[in-house]
Symmetry: C2
Subunit: 510 residues, 2 copies
């Protein structure tokens, strides 16, 4: 730990001395109000999901739109400076990173006309309301025309942004910098057969179960809150820079490097969902909290990408959280607050945490079958944006794909194509980052074991050592490097699914 | 209630048709981002007091300063339009109000140099930290140099703003538009002898007690939360546009006309403090919630002034809340959740709610002695800004004044001059608005009884009728009129303390 600490301070000094370019300094000065607008917008968004009175949504939407316009104005005004700074030679990685991150925003605002941005915003706001109702009634027909409109607008957006090869590449890049269909196709062509193989062996082997009695057992919310709090203590979540609240859909929100918040959910049944939701979000929060303090108020005080961010939540949730050693750590806490747990051995709890079962709903999927849900969505999005299928064909295609990859077929669209909010909100190209997160999680798991005996470290509860490793390798850098650059630096390769497959095989079949 | 409702809609239509001036329409369009900045800033402030992690304060301060700069920039940019619009004839009250409110901000930014604003902000931020510690240790000496600096800066601010007569007039106007020393002197010269007279009679009479055993009784926070919730139901606080949280110093915060929030405090002893803090803040919230919806996103979607705002909280807290009739309404709730209340009759609870006792601490003062605390502070501020006394003389002067007005003398500065946060934060000229609130509360009490039998209305729990009256007379107008204009319209007079005195005499001595 001493070693890490020294390195850390060293890096911080390096950062502090890196910004020598006067133009970049000016850009950082002009970036301060943009940072403040992001800060405000984050808190406004967090509040919507946690405490805002119901009818506050109209004025909140108005305020968010105004803040977005102000941000757009300020980012656009940086154009000339960014262009000039880019032409200057001898920029440090830090300075290059600053320019790179702002350019991405700038590029979007320069290429996509305000009218299209507004259309997308309005349509997706309306579509989300319609979708919510359509899902409730399992009524795809009412949603179809909205989805058609959204696909049409996303195609226009891709055309405006420009792309090489396939229009979907333009959308992928919005969520994961430089990601292309070639990357994702390569990933899935190796991942899918590997996962199918692992899954069929797990099912045949029967060491891991496909259902567990605890999935039906109800818990008291107050007791479960204590379990989550104690679990966060295991994860050494800081008390003065971090907090947890409750929301229907758990998320992590970073206001600043000294104010990061997660939410969790309490559905009252099968306590595992609340527990792993908490660990997952804490994984995101640890990333946000460990960005180097010298990057505060700059465009680099954020994650490298959604895929890298998801790798952190998945690493803690699955690679650490669903291990035998972590189960051992958390078992006494469970017994203390949830009386019914005493009826189960530690091994039974471990099996409950690791039930493997092909299922219909993505957010309920286990770590083995999860990526099948993503490949279904990916193929659908690619075909829709590429104009290969029409929106009306989607439900039956969805069900066919589910059967192909998971061997289960939705009985209705609520448990099929209507289950996720993403498309209604215009989030097309987002889903693949979930699988990238799992894959990078595997790459981290493979790499960290060269420095740390993970099993022993977890068993001893020395989770701070893992946090230090992640901070040094990934977190402290913030968005200095693009996700591909970062992976190349750390792993010498990008998005390699083999490590995830190895991990799963070893865990479930060894 | 039907009558009020008709009037209300009528007024709303009138508002909608009032904005005919094209220049004013343009100003309102440019005001939208300013509204959004205020909205964000309100939520950021609310969060600091309620949920923000401790170490979030540094980045929150940074963000607030950036938002303030953006606001300043945008307000300043309206200068030309405001000037041109002012010159145009035939403006409606609504349009005049818009110009008046923006001009007040504009005037400040035009006259007070950025350097002075920054100095004031930095000094008061530092001074608040020092003050907190000084109060804890009752150590005026460490705070003195900071207070000197603040007085110096406030004098400079007054000079820059300009004034007629006394520099303190410039500061008074910042908190209560057009308020002058002449107004406040007139108020206190009538109020002080009247209050002294009432107080001495109450003490001699002994019908009202000077202490009560319930002041020492502890309560469960959860039970008290239920009491507050049921009390808010009595007040008919809306569920979808309003919420209550907990903070050390209770306050009301309006994010929009559809999102208003209060906080309350739970000190664990003497439940009256939590109850009346809740009612007080609900009084503020009712005002904010009843501004006419057509004023949303305009500069008029706020209160006419701090004094008018405080009149609403005081009216509900004291004139309604501490009445016999309200005690009757709340008594069953108290008995239900606070078991120890059953040992006291309704009359005893009423006396507990209305203990009258000259005391040292302003925030603990009853409605009879409260204004003495303000006159002490007012005389001090006037003398300090007028250069009549030095900061080093303040503690002993304070103690003398307390003895003069209240007959009690602080044993140390923590319970004397160091008790309030206002001065350390640069809030000089703010205190008088508390007394103005009490006085306007008296004026409302005098006026409303011509339309409503207040005692019967409260006894029947028909508090919605009172809310309607206040909405029609005051709330719906927002900041359309200055506080003096508004009072003249409603009462035909301004800041007349006689009605407060009459009310107190009648309540305590009849």
């Amino acid at each position: 730990m001493g070693l890490f600490h020294t390195n850390y301070i060293g890096m911080r000094d390096a950062f502090a001395s890196m910004s020598k370019n006067q133009l970049v300094e000016q850009i950082l000065e002009s970036y301060k109000p943009i940072w403040a607008l992001d800060h405000a917008s984050s808190l406004l968004g967090w509040d919507v999901e946690t405490y805002m009175p119901l009818q506050g949504s109209r004025s909140r939407g108005f305020a968010q739109a105004q803040l977005a316009l102000m941000k757009q104005e300020r980012v656009t005004s940086l154009d000339g400076m960014i262009e000039r700074a880019t032409k200057e030679g001898g920029l440090s990685d830090y300075e290059k990173g600053i320019l790179r991150v702002i350019k991405r925003d700038l590029n979007y605002f320069k290429k996509v006309p305000p009218k299209l941005i507004e259309d997308l915003q309005r349509t997706s706001t309306e579509a989300t309301v319609v979708w919510r109702d359509a899902r409730k009634k399992s009524d795809y027909a009412t949603f179809q025309s909205y989805l058609e409109k959204i696909i049409e607008l996303k195609k226009q957006e891709a055309d405006k942004l420009g792309y090489v090869g396939h229009p979907y590449n333009a959308l992928l890049d919005m969520y994961e910098e430089e990601l292309t269909i070639n990357d994702v196709d390569r990933v899935f062509s190796a991942l899918v057969p590997g996962l199918k193989n692992v899954l069929s062996k797990i099912i045949a082997d029967k060491t891991y179960v496909s259902s567990h009695p605890l999935e039906a057992v109800e818990y008291e919310q107050q007791a479960m809150t204590r379990v989550n709090q104690e679990t966060m203590r295991l994860l050494k979540m800081p008390e003065k820079t971090f907090r947890m609240d409750i929301s229907t859909h758990p998320f992590t929100s970073s206001m600043s490097l000294e104010d990061v918040r997660v939410t969790t959910r309490y559905e009252g049944k099968s306590f595992r969902d609340s527990l792993y939701s908490t660990i997952h979000e804490c994984g995101h929060a640890i990333y946000d909290l460990q960005v180097d303090p010298s990057l505060e108020y700059t465009p680099l005080s954020r994650a490298a990408s959604l895929g890298i961010h998801e790798s952190q939540s998945r690493f803690w949730e699955n690679f650490v959280g669903r291990s035998r050693e972590f189960t051992k750590l958390v078992y006494p806490i469970l017994k203390k607050y949830l009386p019914f747990v005493s009826g189960y051995s530690e091994e039974e709890i471990y099996k409950y945490f690791n039930v493997v079962r092909p299922s219909l709903i993505r957010v309920e999927a286990d770590e083995v079958t999860y990526n099948f849900h993503i490949v279904v969505r990916y193929e659908m999005e690619k075909a829709l944006i590429g104009g290969k299928v029409s929106v009306s064909e989607i439900p039956s295609l969805w069900n066919d794909k589910m059967e192909e990859f998971l061997g289960v077929r939705p009985k209705n669209d609520a448990e099929g194509v209507l289950q996720d909010v993403h498309w209604s909100g215009g989030g097309m190209g987002y889903f693949p980052t979930y699988t990238l997160g799992n894959i990078i999680g595997g790459m981290i798991y493979n790499k960290i074991r060269k420095d740390l005996d993970i099993a022993k470290t977890v068993q001893r509860g020395e989770l701070g050592l893992i946090k230090n490793w992640l901070r040094e390798q990934i977190h402290k850098l913030g968005a200095t490097y693009s996700p591909k650059e970062l992976q190349t630096k750390i792993f010498g390769e990008t998005y390699n699914p083999e490590h995830l497959l190895e991990y799963l095989e070893h865990k479930y079949l060894a």
